[in-house]
């Protein structure tokens, strides 16, 4: 008699667990759909022709006569290629200069000993609390006064330092045992060579993380480029898409706009799918955009 009861209790518990699991999966799938749907919709709309999009009062969920014309249009009717190239130049240059600035700084904090080190480092940390909005006004005036509006120099210079990345890298550099440094010194290696040959390779994961985070930030930057460029020849993709929206294909050509949106979104999504692990680990450690 007892034996039967135990089986029944077990079955009930099992059933409850299955129901619970199902609810969890349903809810998770629901959020997944909410996340994915805009991507699906932009892809779908981008391959509909202008005519068919505007005749569908109730939009179809599958394209009836897919066309790539919108993609051709977004490179010929509006200078999307130019925006793309500008963003690429901006992203590569900013990231490269940033690495050249922050790696030596992190090295000095982690490895070298000098008067005022602690004070300076505290000062650096305090700078992390300064919001961008507070300093952007003066930077705008500075860059305008230097006649650097509508130049890459003006776009790039204010965004090449990041106190937070210096801090992240310094913490990582500091974990490398001192013995390595002394061994290198005995062999007559210079500081700079030691930094390049030993520290940078050992800390490559962190450097890759910082690089990727900076690339994402650059690719999506909108506010500073908007302030500093009003010549479409220097627009980055964010400003480009805004320009396309307001003056581009004509307000109603939504499929062509969506093609431009797809073109702009693809590079980062591909980058993400390749470096998924590093990006997610990096953002968990040092991301913002909360």
């Amino acid at each position: 008699m007892n034996h039967v009861n135990y089986t029944r209790i077990g079955q009930a518990a099992e059933r409850r667990r299955t129901v619970g699991k199902t609810i969890v999966y349903v809810l998770l799938t629901l959020w997944g759909l909410i996340v994915l749907f805009p991507f699906y919709w932009m892809l779908l709309t981008s391959i509909k022709s202008y005519a068919s999009y505007n005749t569908e009062y109730i939009p179809r969920f599958f394209p009836t006569s897919p066309t790539l014309q919108n993609y051709v249009d977004s490179f010929t009717a509006v200078p999307l290629g130019q925006y793309f190239l500008n963003t690429l130049i901006f992203t590569v240059a900013t990231t490269a200069i940033m690495l050249a600035v922050i790696i030596p700084a992190a090295f000095a904090f982690a490895r070298l000993n000098f008067r005022g080190k602690n004070l300076l480092f505290t000062l650096f940390l305090a700078l992390m609390m300064i919001p961008n909005e507070l300093v952007i006004i003066t930077n705008f005036t500075t860059v305008t006064d230097l006649d650097l509006r509508n130049t890459f120099t003006g776009l790039i210079l204010p965004s090449v330092t990041s106190v937070f990345y210096i801090y992240l890298l310094k913490e990582n550099f500091a974990q490398i045992p001192d013995e390595l440094y002394y061994a290198a010194k005995v062999d007559g290696t210079s500081d700079f060579k030691y930094l390049c040959r030993v520290m940078v390779p050992i800390c490559r994961p962190t450097i890759v993380t910082v690089t990727i985070l900076k690339v994402i930030e650059c690719w999506n930057s909108y506010v500073w480029p908007r302030l500093i460029t009003d010549d479409p020849a220097y627009y980055l993709v964010s400003n480009g898409i805004q320009e396309i929206r307001e003056n581009g294909f004509g307000r109603e050509n939504i499929p062509a706009m969506m093609a431009a949106v797809v073109v702009i979104s693809v590079p980062l999504i591909v980058l993400f799918l390749i470096f998924r692990r590093q990006i997610m680990a990096g953002v968990a450690r040092g991301g913002t955009k909360g």
């Binding site: 969890v24 009062y57 600035v101 000095a108 003066t138 980062l268 953002v283 909360g290």
Partner: protein
């Protein structure tokens, strides 16, 4: 370590130079700007020192609108996104199959261009002569009437803005909470199970206290981030946010600085300092609250 001043400063020189020019100098400059009355950016002259810029900004209806919008946005999106992220992370922690797939999908909004994907949200909600938009059609399916979400009533627009903001900030929160949940020592759960603790009790007495530092970190960064909202609104309503009644404090600063209504760096500076004061106050309050409730 031997002390070598010159080398060290040489390594630090580029960073100090950039930070000095683009961060420390502006910090003082913005304060000075905000107290210079009647500053003319073309002639670089001003005719007085005082609090007029602050008074002007605080009485500007556009600023008050921006302030109201920002506060509503913050009060809705921060609790909502944090709560939702907690729910999803707990769900993720309880499953094994498909977990990585879900995590990857949930992270996608982080790597998308806010301006570009905002356009997609706009067309999903927008009512045009050709179509009412997908969201309205779904509403019609349930018997509700169409709403003009993008150019219509205030709360409809605010809803779209909040929805998009939550969509954008979720990846970071889910990621942080998922790693926080994963780092809770399994021993505590085993002990709770031996004691016959119910699921809810385990959650509220073990999980929640253990991840509370991360939860508060998210609340704090969430508040800071939401107070600085701007590009999300531009993405949906276009650059003329004042006309759409959807401006934010940061949007007001940039409008004052540049654009059709721009050329007033003094007003922009005053608004920026007011924003900074608000954010600082909220952060301090958050820290005080967390000291009382967070278990380390």
């Amino acid at each position: 370590m031997e002390t070598r001043n010159r080398t060290a400063w040489l390594y630090l020189l580029p960073a100090i130079l950039f930070l000095g020019v683009f961060m420390i100098y502006p910090l003082f400059d913005v304060l000075i700007y905000s107290f210079e009355e009647g500053y003319n950016s073309a002639a670089q002259t001003f005719f007085g020192v005082g609090g007029y810029n602050y008074a002007f900004v605080l009485h500007d209806p556009y600023f008050l609108q921006a302030l109201k919008n920002t506060f509503i946005l913050v009060l809705i999106t921060v609790p909502l996104s944090t709560g939702l992220a907690l729910l999803i992370s707990v769900g993720l922690a309880s499953i094994k199959r498909l977990r990585h797939l879900f995590q990857t999908v949930y992270f996608l909004p982080y790597v998308t261009n806010t301006l570009a994907v905002g356009l997609v949200f706009m067309i999903l909600f927008k009512k045009t002569p050709y179509t009412d938009g997908l969201v309205n059609l779904i509403l019609n399916l349930f018997g509700a009437g169409s709403v003009d979400w993008i150019d219509g009533p205030y709360w409809a627009k605010m809803f779209v803005l909040c929805f998009y903001t939550v969509w954008v900030v979720m990846p970071f929160k889910i990621l942080v909470l998922t790693s926080a949940l994963a780092s809770v020592d399994q021993t505590y759960y085993n002990a709770a199970r031996i004691d016959g603790s119910t699921r809810w009790r385990t959650f509220s007495h073990i999980t929640l206290p253990m991840i509370s530092p991360m939860l508060f970190y998210l609340v704090i960064t969430g508040f800071i981030g939401a107070f600085k909202a701007y590009s999300d609104a531009v993405a949906i309503f276009g650059t003329n946010l004042n006309a759409a009644e959807m401006n934010t404090i940061v949007g007001y600063i940039y409008d004052m600085l540049y654009g059709d209504s721009g050329g007033f760096p003094s007003y922009a500076s005053a608004a920026a300092i007011i924003l900074f004061a608000i954010v600082l106050t909220i952060t301090v309050i958050n820290l005080l609250v967390s000291r009382r409730h967070v278990h380390y």
